[in-house]
Symmetry: C2
Subunit: 333 residues, 2 copies
C-alpha cells in the first residue's frame, strides 16, 4: 500500500484554462493485483493537444471526464510487479501521466529502452513530439531538395525538432517564435532567419523579408496570422503540414477566420492536417534516424521543467502563454 | 481583307466588373501572311478565372493589358490559309477568343476533331471545364469507393461535370447551387441532395442535414461559407479539391476569412488547390472517358448562350451573378 497524488479535471475550461479547472487529489494504491504492475512516474508531459480533450466534444480522442485523473505520456520505474513481464527497477513508459504512481495491467505499460538517452527524451525529441516533427516534415509536407521551410512555434517541443531536421538535411529554415530567448535559442540551432512575431506589426511582411523568393514548406503549429503569412509567401506547389493551431485552442467561438485561402488555388498549394497516431508505421524509421542524429549532435533538445505533480497545471497553462522553451515537462521524482 | 470586331479591356475592374470595363473595337484583318491562317470564330467561352487576369498582378497567367483584346478559348473555322497545315473549312480551336476573327501563325491554332460532338462542347464538357472536373475529382481529391461528394457551384460549367462523374461512379452526391432552376437541373442529373444556398440561412446546418454522416470529398468552386460548411461536415481523411473560389474573385480586400480550418488538423483533412494547365497529362485519358460517357448518355451538359461578340461582356458579368446554367458561351456566327 502506498499513496499517489494526481491531477483531476475539476471543471471544463471556458476559453483559456485557469488553475481552478484542476484539482490535486491523493489516492491509495494497493499492492498490484495478479497481472498488474505498480509504476512510480519520474517524468510526465504536458502538451497543447490536451486542451482539446478538456472540451466535451468527440474528436480523434475521447474527452477527459470531470472528477477523473487526466491522462498523458509519462516515463517511470516499476516499483512492484505481479506479472512475469516486469520486475522492480524496470524503466517503462505509459499513458498514465498526471499522477505520481499507478497500478495498471502489465500490457498497458511498455518497456523503455533509452538507447543511452535520458528517459524524459522519450516524452520529447525521441518521443511523440519528435515523431510528429518527423512525420509532418518528411511525410505530410514531403520535404524535397531545395525547399525553403517555414516553422511556427519553432522553439516549442515539435518546432525545435522540425527546424533541426530541416537544417541537417540542408534546407533554408525560417522560424517564428516569441521573445528574445527563443530567438537566441533558434539561432543557436543554425536556423537561417528567426522572426520574433511578438515584435513584428506585420507578420506577412516579416516573412516576405525573411523569404524574399518565397517558401515551399510550412510547418503549422499556430494558425491565424501565421497561416495567412504562409499562404501569402508560398511558392507554387507549396505544402503545408497542419500539425496544430495553438492560437485557436482556447477559442470560445469560430473566431476571425483565415484570409487568403484563395492563394491555394492559384499557387496549387496543398494543406494537409495530420495526427501523429495515424503514422506509427514511421516509428521504427524515426527511432533509427533520431537516435543517430542525437548521437552525432545534429539534433539537440531543450526542456523547460516544472517540479512536482502539484505544478503540472502550471506547466500546462504556461504552454498557452508561450512560457516554454523547447519541451515542457514535469519532473515527478 | 476583312474586318473583325473584338472586346478589349478598357479599364481594370475595382471589385465587381461593369460594362464600362470593356470596349468593342473593329479591326481590319489583311489576308494571312505566309505561315498564317485566318480563322472566323463560331463560339467563344467566358470563364470565372478570367477575372483574375483583369487585375494587374502576376499569377499563373499574365494579366490582360488595357487597350488590348482579351484572350480565351474559342472554336471556329479556317476561312483562309497560307500554310500547308490548314485549308479553308477546317474546324480549329485556339486561345484567340473575345474576337470574331483573327490571323495567327498556324502553330497557334489546333485542328478540332469533334468526335461527333457539337464544336462548342470543346469549350465546356469536353474541353477545359470538363478536364478540370475530371482532374479535380479523380486526381486531386482522389475519389475512392464509398466517398460522399459535396460540390459547390454545382450547376456551373465545372460543377455539372463533377456531379455527373461522381454519380456515374456510384457515389452519393450533394450539390449546392442558387435558385430553383439550378436545383431542378441538378435533380434531373440524379444528384442525391441539392441545397439551394440562397434559400438556406445556415449552409453548414443544411449540409449536415443532407449528409448526416459527413462528406469525404469537397469540390470547391465558391469559397467562404461553402468552405466553412465543408470543413464542419468533413469526415476524417476528407479531401478537398480547391478548383476556384468565385465568391472571392471580386474582393477588393482580404475579406472575412474562413473559420474552422482547425478542423483540418483533428480530422486529417487534405485541402489541395490546382490549375488544370498543370494536368494536361490527363488529357488523353479524359477525352477517351468523356467521349464514352457522352456517347452513352451518362454525361450531359447544359449551356447558357449569349449571341454576338457585343454581348460577350454581358455573358462574362452574368457568371458573377450566377445567371448561367451550365456552361456560359457566346455564339459568334
Amino acid at each position: 500500500m502506498t499513496t499517489s497524488r494526481e491531477i483531476r479535471l475539476k471543471s471544463r475550461p471556458a476559453g483559456v484554462p485557469t488553475p481552478d479547472n484542476f484539482e490535486l487529489a491523493t489516492v491509495n494504491l494497493p499492492d498490484p493485483a495478479p497481472g498488474e504492475v505498480q509504476v512510480r512516474n519520474t517524468w510526465m508531459t504536458v502538451d497543447p493537444y490536451m486542451r482539446g480533450r478538456m472540451n466535451d466534444v468527440q474528436s480523434y480522442v475521447p474527452p477527459f471526464q470531470i472528477g477523473e485523473a487526466l491522462q498523458g505520456g509519462a516515463v517511470g520505474e516499476v516499483v512492484a510487479s505481479n506479472d512475469p513481464a516486469f520486475k522492480a527497477g524496470d524503466a517503462v513508459q505509459s499513458f498514465f501521466g498526471w499522477r505520481e504512481a499507478f497500478n495498471a495491467p502489465a500490457a498497458a505499460v511498455q518497456t523503455l529502452d533509452t538507447h543511452g538517452l535520458p528517459p524524459q527524451a522519450f516524452l520529447g525529441v525521441a518521443g511523440m513530439p519528435g515523431l510528429t516533427a518527423y512525420v509532418g516534415l518528411l511525410k505530410i509536407a514531403a520535404l524535397k531538395d531545395g525547399d525553403v521551410v517555414f516553422v511556427s512555434a519553432a522553439a516549442g517541443a515539435v518546432g525545435q525538432v522540425v527546424c533541426q531536421i530541416a537544417k541537417l538535411k540542408g534546407h533554408t529554415v525560417i522560424a517564428s517564435a516569441g521573445g528574445a530567448d527563443k530567438v537566441d535559442y533558434l539561432k543557436s540551432l543554425g536556423v537561417d532567419h528567426v522572426i520574433d512575431y511578438k515584435a513584428e506589426p506585420d507578420l506577412t511582411a516579416a516573412l516576405m523579408r525573411a523569404a524574399p523568393t518565397g517558401i515551399d514548406v510550412y510547418f503549422e503549429n499556430v494558425g491565424g496570422a501565421h497561416l495567412e503569412a504562409a499562404l501569402m509567401a508560398a511558392r507554387p506547389f507549396g505544402r503545408f503540414a497542419l500539425c496544430g493551431m495553438i492560437s485557436q485552442y482556447n477559442a470560445t467561438d469560430m473566431g476571425a477566420g483565415v484570409r487568403g485561402l484563395i492563394m491555394a488555388v492559384g499557387k496549387s498549394l496543398r494543406l494537409e492536417g495530420f495526427i501523429v497516431s495515424n503514422h506509427f508505421d514511421k516509428q521504427a524509421e524515426f527511432v533509427r534516424d533520431m537516435s543517430g542524429w542525437i548521437a552525432s549532435g545534429q539534433v539537440k533538445a531543450r526542456e523547460t521543467v516544472e517540479q512536482g505533480i502539484e505544478n503540472a497545471p502550471t506547466a500546462f497553462l504556461k504552454l498557452f502563454k508561450g512560457e516554454n522553451l523547447g519541451k515542457m515537462l514535469v519532473k515527478l521524482s
